[in-house]
């Protein structure tokens, strides 16, 4: 799939529920020293996913420190712990991998490791985040890390389009600004004290959800030795624009996109219907619109419904020399969905949708991320990874009339953004 790291990760999380499985062992509860956990056990796989998810504003608690959540999360992972190694060094030493994903209202820290290393990683992760003591060395690494990511982001059209569309849909708050700033000024000005202060508040155990999947079991949580009881933060809110406007933006790479605000996560059936629409029209390889794009051309399309507390967002990014025609096709196809699909075509599309949901979330790392996202967005019982998830009931209950009614209600006034480069301008003039 042609997508930048942010959108690729988001897609994996959002379109990745698990089929209800009678034998899947799921559990949830409280951590030993504050906070909660949720896990799905599969003793037949040799690896484990260990994730920590937090509710936190990407631009700081006063909205003045764009990028601080990513910065602090990275610095905490890079800071040497009492055992003599940082979290990232430990994970790499066991042949695993670490990913840090930051969204406007949340932070996810994900480790994919061999099962035998899971206990050590749980201990190190809880130590790094529940009792953060970021050092100058950790800070230095985080600065370099963000500088590289920021430079890369300037050339990923998908990320730029995503950020630009969110800036139009939300008038302020963290959803209005990019989680990784283009300008490193704000990052350079974050002091060690500020990073630690943010980390101590955002990453406290009471604000955390540990999600584990794969070859794991609840006894692993005995390794959590840090933390303190308390209540989690309230959801991070970004005000929605009443009449969002389209916009053209100067950028290093061309691209364009279109977005609509959609139902909140609490409206489970409507949110699931949006996922269905995104799958039917835009899924790589099978989407009705995606299939019309010549795979040997430079054109591409990435469409998804992003399930958020309120509202969710249907977002499509498009690139290539034929992007204007594709965008027209996208808007027209979405309009066409206001009319109910033929029952036979709908039944086939729904079955394919259910299969895609299961197929996209078969590995422990995908499952743990899925559990974390839905927990932080405030509807853990809707997390598709749960054995008796409300998600699957909603997906199976979809019918042509209902999907058409949801499209009619939400997908009416698209917002567009266009990224133009110096070359594009020259060609146009």
């Amino acid at each position: 799939m042609r997508a930048g790291p942010l959108t690729a990760a988001a897609l994996a999380v959002l379109l990745a529920p698990l089929a209800a499985s009678a034998a899947a062992m799921s559990s949830s509860g409280s951590l030993p020293h504050g906070g909660v956990y949720t896990m799905t056990e599969d003793p037949t796989v040799p690896s484990a996913a260990v994730d920590l998810w937090f509710r936190a504003p990407s631009d700081g608690y006063d909205g003045s420190s764009q990028g601080i959540s990513r910065f602090a999360a990275t610095a905490a992972a890079a800071t040497t712990l009492s055992g003599g190694r940082s979290l990232v060094a430990l994970i790499r030493s066991v042949g695993g991998s670490l990913a840090i994903d930051v969204y406007p209202d949340m932070v996810g820290v994900s480790a994919d490791v061999p099962a035998s290393a899971a206990r050590r990683v749980v201990a190190a992760m809880s130590s790094a985040y529940f009792a953060p003591a970021i050092t100058d060395d950790g800070l230095k690494i985080a600065r370099t890390d963000l500088a590289v990511l920021s430079a890369q982001q300037r050339y990923y059209a998908d990320d730029l389009v995503h950020n630009a569309l969110f800036a139009q849909l939300f008038t302020s708050g963290p959803a209005h600004v990019a989680a990784i700033p283009d300008d490193l000024g704000p990052i350079k000005s974050i002091t060690l004290e500020a990073a630690n202060a943010f980390a101590k508040r955002a990453f406290r155990s009471a604000n955390a959800t540990f999600t584990l999947a794969g070859n794991v079991d609840p006894a692993l949580l005995d390794a959590v030795t840090e933390g303190s009881p308390g209540a989690p933060d309230q959801p991070v809110v970004s005000p929605v624009a009443a009449d969002p406007q389209s916009k053209t933006i100067d950028a290093a790479v061309p691209g364009q996109g279109v977005a609509w605000t959609g139902p909140p996560i609490s409206d489970e059936r409507a949110a699931t219907a949006m996922d269905f629409v995104a799958d039917y029209l835009f899924r790589e390889g099978t989407g009705v619109i995606t299939k019309t794009i010549d795979p040997t051309s430079d054109n591409y399309l990435d469409g998804q419904f992003i399930t958020l507390r309120n509202p969710g967002v249907m977002l499509v990014s498009i690139g290539g020399s034929g992007s204007s025609a594709i965008e027209a096709q996208v808007v027209s196809a979405v309009e066409g969905m206001r009319k109910p699909l033929d029952p036979a075509a709908f039944a086939a599309a729904r079955e394919a949708f259910l299969y895609h949901l299961a197929s996209d979330s078969q590995t422990p790392d995908e499952q743990a991320a899925n559990l974390g996202w839905y927990a932080v967005e405030g509807n853990p019982s809707y997390a598709p990874s749960s054995g008796d998830s409300a998600y699957w009931k909603a997906a199976r209950s979809l019918d042509p009339d209902y999907v058409a009614s949801v499209v009619k209600k939400y997908l009416t006034h698209p917002v567009e953004v266009h990224l133009i480069t110096e070359t594009t301008k020259d060609t146009a003039s």
């Binding site: 037949t44 992972a77 490791v113 061999p114 039944a347």
Partner: protein, 419 residues
């Protein structure tokens, strides 16, 4: 036995059954999985093709996916029933990957059984298959690393047909019609040497469903078509191609040991070490997040197939490609010529972790079980790999580096002058 090996030992080994028709069935039940996944492996790969039939293995497989069942192409019927079917053509076999939701499994596998038992290779079906393959070839030609690896594989193959590209080439595909597809299917789609490897919610399949799959082709066995061409004379080991890409790629290929070799474990450790070293070399010090640079350089141990090999690659987009590449090659050279001091336990732990974290998807579990069963008659890929790594010594590492990392064949994939 270290901690990782101990952990692996508690995983249930795949259950293997050898059927009377020469079909091997492997089952890895996983009640927590969301799907049932089956690899159906038939001895109808590249080495069954004549050189004049370049692409017939893929054309037959793609035509099968498009063979109508109740008037609907198989792959569309499977998708509408809650599953998927796709294929990979390997040097010696073609592997169909079939997946289904548990509640739809009987229906999906029933559709597959119907199509494979009585495929329809009419002109429209074969034309659609050919068009699809030509598009896939064009897509592959835009992936410089794939272009380079294909070139290198063609020089490494001991039988010339086994080194042909997976999908053939357009010029040969347009010569192949329904008659060729039918003949290839009739000759090579037989039970002997095939595998049915099932993972996940196998309990959802109706009783005898795997046996039905195993028996859906006629009995019989086939042999590869030997195509021996004289080796080209010459001293150069460089291959060069130009494509519409933005930066050059440099790819080095070394012969490597098979799974059954005593050198398998040491080569896994060596490749894990090289992968980490190369990544560290190009990244900014300490950077945590995966970046463009970390994907631009690497080492891959391709231990499947008759000609295992180790590939080192560098994308010139990360800066001076020659410098990066020479550094990569020098790591191989140093490893083979310098006595290793100290413990190699850290390298071994990394190799174990790399293997285990890449062995969790249904697709990889099904395929690894087949690979290990056909190489050594023991499908328990986790235990065998952990044992092989665990027993590796520093002396093994050096011996293997010296034996294999001496004289690579190098492919350069360059941007066209006008691109």
């Amino acid at each position: 036995m270290n901690a990782l090996v101990l952990a692996a030992a508690v995983l249930a080994a795949p259950a293997v059954t050898h059927g009377s028709g020469g079909v091997t069935t492997i089952v890895q039940a996983d009640a927590a999985a969301p799907l049932v996944h089956v690899d159906y492996v038939v001895r109808a790969g590249l080495d069954r093709q004549l050189l004049t039939q370049n692409g017939i293995a893929a054309l037959t497989a793609e035509s099968l996916l498009r063979s109508p069942v109740n008037g609907v192409p198989l792959q569309d019927a499977v998708a509408a029933a809650g599953g998927s079917i796709s294929f990979v053509v390997d040097p010696s076999d073609v592997r169909f990957e079939i997946e289904a939701l548990p509640e739809d499994a009987s229906r999906v596998f029933g559709l597959v059984h119907t199509a494979f038992s009585a495929p329809v290779f009419d002109p429209a079906t074969v034309k659609a298959a050919r068009d699809k393959l030509i598009t896939r070839i064009a897509e592959n030609q835009q992936v410089a690393l794939q272009v380079g690896i294909d070139m290198l594989n063609s020089t490494l193959a001991s039988s010339a047909n086994a080194g042909l590209p997976q999908y053939g080439i357009p010029a040969s595909l347009i010569q192949l019609g329904p008659g060729d597809v039918h003949a290839f299917f009739s000759t090579y789609y037989v039970q002997g040497g095939s595998f049915v490897s099932a993972v996940g919610r196998v309990d959802a399949l109706s009783g005898g469903a795997l046996d039905d799959l195993a028996g859906m082709l006629p009995a019989g066995s086939t042999q590869p078509v030997a195509v021996n061409l004289p080796k080209l004379e010459g001293t150069s080991r460089h291959l060069v191609a130009e494509r519409n890409i933005t930066s050059p790629w440099l790819i080095a290929q070394y012969p490597a040991p098979a799974i059954t070799s005593k050198d398998f474990g040491p080569m896994l450790v060596l490749s894990a070490f090289m992968q980490r070293t190369l990544s560290d070399m190009v990244e900014m010090p300490g950077v945590i997040s995966p970046t463009f640079a970390s994907n631009a350089i690497g080492a891959v141990y391709q231990f499947q197939g008759a000609e295992p090999n180790l590939v080192l690659y560098v994308n010139g987009g990360i800066g001076d490609p020659q410098r990066s590449f020479l550094t990569a090659l020098s790591i191989a050279s140093i490893l083979s010529s310098t006595k290793l001091e100290g413990s190699i336990d850290d390298f071994k732990t990394m190799a174990e972790g790399d293997f285990l974290t890449n062995a969790s998807s249904l697709e990889s579990r099904a395929w690894l079980a087949v690979l290990y069963e056909e190489n050594g008659g023991e499908a328990d890929y986790v235990t065998r790999t952990m044992d092989a790594i665990s027993q590796t010594t520093a002396a093994d590492l050096q011996r293997v580096a010296r034996s294999y990392l001496g004289n690579p064949t190098i492919a350069l994939v360059l941007p066209r002058e006008d691109s």
